[in-house]
């Protein structure tokens, strides 16, 4: 029923949805999600997102980059690569409506301009590589402290860090806590800018495992990464950012 509805939404959409172009195969992530569905269990303190979501980017361009066309469904992970300065972060920021841009972005077929920007960003949440902190203590940044706290062990973070001053944390701890801060708000889509750039291999593996679980729950991921091996590990589709748009790199 859910999948039938999903097809309906896609069929009714006038915008090219990447995964439904005839020549492109059904993405592995979507297939994986469908086959895994009976065995999916909600995480502790989280709810299972059981609705089909779609994020469609159509002709999005800023002064220096674009136009970009892209469609992501819940449960998919799209990796973005490309040389420094080509506009990968800019693209994520434009999708999150943090940067003025021309073009359309639709969430579940609704133009983002028809909803308040804060409401849209709670559904489509951007996490910078070195995200900012506005209060002294970690816990004061969390909109849902219990949910956030429950995510700490999975990322190899001590529970005591929750009450720690931000100034005492390492870059890698801050990077994972910024991820916790965003994930605990249960966004439908996460736009992650090099989420493991400051992490050692073990912490990186934990983050990748968490991202995989989010996908199983139906969260859509758009991840900028410079690590080609990581892109292969986590992504259902791999795209290369060029000044003029996106190129499919999925084999």
């Amino acid at each position: 029923m859910v999948n039938g509805l999903c097809g309906l939404i896609v069929a009714a959409s006038n915008y090219p949805l990447y995964v439904h172009e005839p020549e492109s195969p059904v993405p592995r992530g979507l297939r994986a999600r469908l086959s895994l569905r009976p065995s999916i269990r909600p995480l502790a303190n989280t709810t299972l997102t059981d609705t089909c979501s779609s994020l469609i980017v159509n002709g999005l361009h800023g002064r220096l980059a674009g136009p970009f066309d892209l469609g992501i469904e819940g449960g998919e992970c799209v990796a973005l690569s490309g040389p420094s300065g080509v506009g990968k972060s800019l693209l994520l920021r434009m999708i999150a409506d943090l940067e003025p841009a021309r073009g359309r972005v639709e969430l579940d077929g609704v133009d983002r301009d028809r909803m308040p920007a804060p409401a849209f960003r709670r559904q489509v949440t951007y996490v910078a590589a070195d995200a900012g902190w506005w209060a002294d203590i970690v816990a004061d940044h969390m909109a849902y402290p219990e949910r956030a706290r429950a995510l700490l062990p999975g990322l190899g973070l001590a529970d005591a860090l929750f009450e720690a001053p931000v100034a005492t944390l390492s870059t890698g701890q801050r990077q994972r806590l910024a991820l916790v801060r965003a994930i605990s708000q249960h966004p439908r889509f996460l736009l992650l800018d090099e989420p493991t750039s400051a992490l050692d291999p073990e912490a990186t593996a934990r983050v990748e495992a968490l991202l995989a679980r989010l996908r199983e729950q139906g969260t859509g991921l758009l991840v900028v990464t410079h690590d080609a091996a990581q892109a292969v590990r986590i992504a259902t589709r791999r795209l290369r950012v060029t000044p003029g748009g996106l190129e499919d790199e999925t084999p």
Partner: protein, 268 residues
């Protein structure tokens, strides 16, 4: 109650103090004799001109002339607030962001005082309206300058924190909450200090002047209290008004941070 009138001779005796300071500065090679004498001369010329000017304005008792003088004072304050900032908005916003709240606060507070507490006859009597507008304007201008400086210097430093809050779904005023709080406080702080220290650490200028001019200390204290309340209100209104206006201009209707609207004093 009759003020002791000063003669030019008595003023000249006081001027000897400035001349002696200048001579000492020359003797000790401190190098401040020139700016000291220039500043003293400027002060004398400015105050005498203002005195002559106000004498004419007071004699006229015209609402239009009074209004024009107040408008000129507000325009000068707008220019001051706009040009004191190291970082500022482009175009008319440079003056508007501080000038509009300062002007509105000054006019509002001055009219309120003229209509309720002071009630001169006629209400636009320049002898009351002009000094009142002037003192409120001075405080409002200082408050707005300090508050805007607080916003403009912290917004670049706090950019990542503001954007993190916006990205997580905060609206623009929530994302700026820390900056708004700090900047309004910075703007109001001098007035609060002035109130707290009044009479204990410093003798307020108005009261000192009135007592020297022969007024009863209790009567002058009452005047000072009224003025302090007016200044506190004016300082707060100008701070809060200019801070919210600046935040409104630093963001857009889609709750995006628009730092490119801010430019540095020296180019770009």
């Amino acid at each position: 109650m009759s003020p002791i009138s000063l003669t030019p001779m008595e003023l000249a005796m006081a001027a000897v103090l400035v001349l002696a300071s200048a001579a000492l500065s020359l003797r000790l090679a401190l190098g401040i004799q020139r700016p000291l004498l220039v500043a003293a001369a400027r002060m004398v010329v400015q105050l005498v001109l203002v005195g002559l000017f106000l004498r004419q304005v007071f004699a006229l008792t015209s609402p239009w002339v009074t209004g024009a003088v107040v408008a000129l004072m507000i325009a000068a304050a707008c220019h001051e607030v706009g040009s004191r900032q190291e970082r500022r908005f482009q175009g008319a916003w440079r003056y508007g962001v501080g000038g509009v709240p300062v002007g509105v606060a000054t006019l509002g507070i001055a009219l309120l005082a003229l209509a309720t507490a002071l009630r001169p006859d006629p209400w636009y009597d320049p002898r009351h309206a002009i000094p009142l507008a002037g003192i409120v304007l001075g405080t409002a201008m200082n408050s707005a300058s300090l508050a805007l400086n607080g916003v403009f210097t912290s917004v670049s430093r706090e950019r990542a924190a503001i954007e993190a809050r916006l990205a997580l779904g905060a609206d623009r005023y929530t994302a700026f909450r820390n900056i708004i709080r700090g900047a309004v406080r910075a703007g109001v702080l001098p007035v609060m200090n002035q109130m707290a220290a009044a009479g204990v650490i410093t003798m307020p200028g108005i009261m000192t002047g009135q007592i020297l001019a022969g007024m009863d200390p209790i009567e002058s204290a009452k005047y000072q209290i009224l003025l302090m309340f007016l200044l506190a209100g004016g300082g707060f209104a100008a701070s809060a008004g200019s801070v919210y206006l600046a935040v409104w201009r630093l963001t857009d209707a889609r709750d995006r941070l628009r730092l490119e609207r801010l430019v540095s004093r020296h180019g770009g």
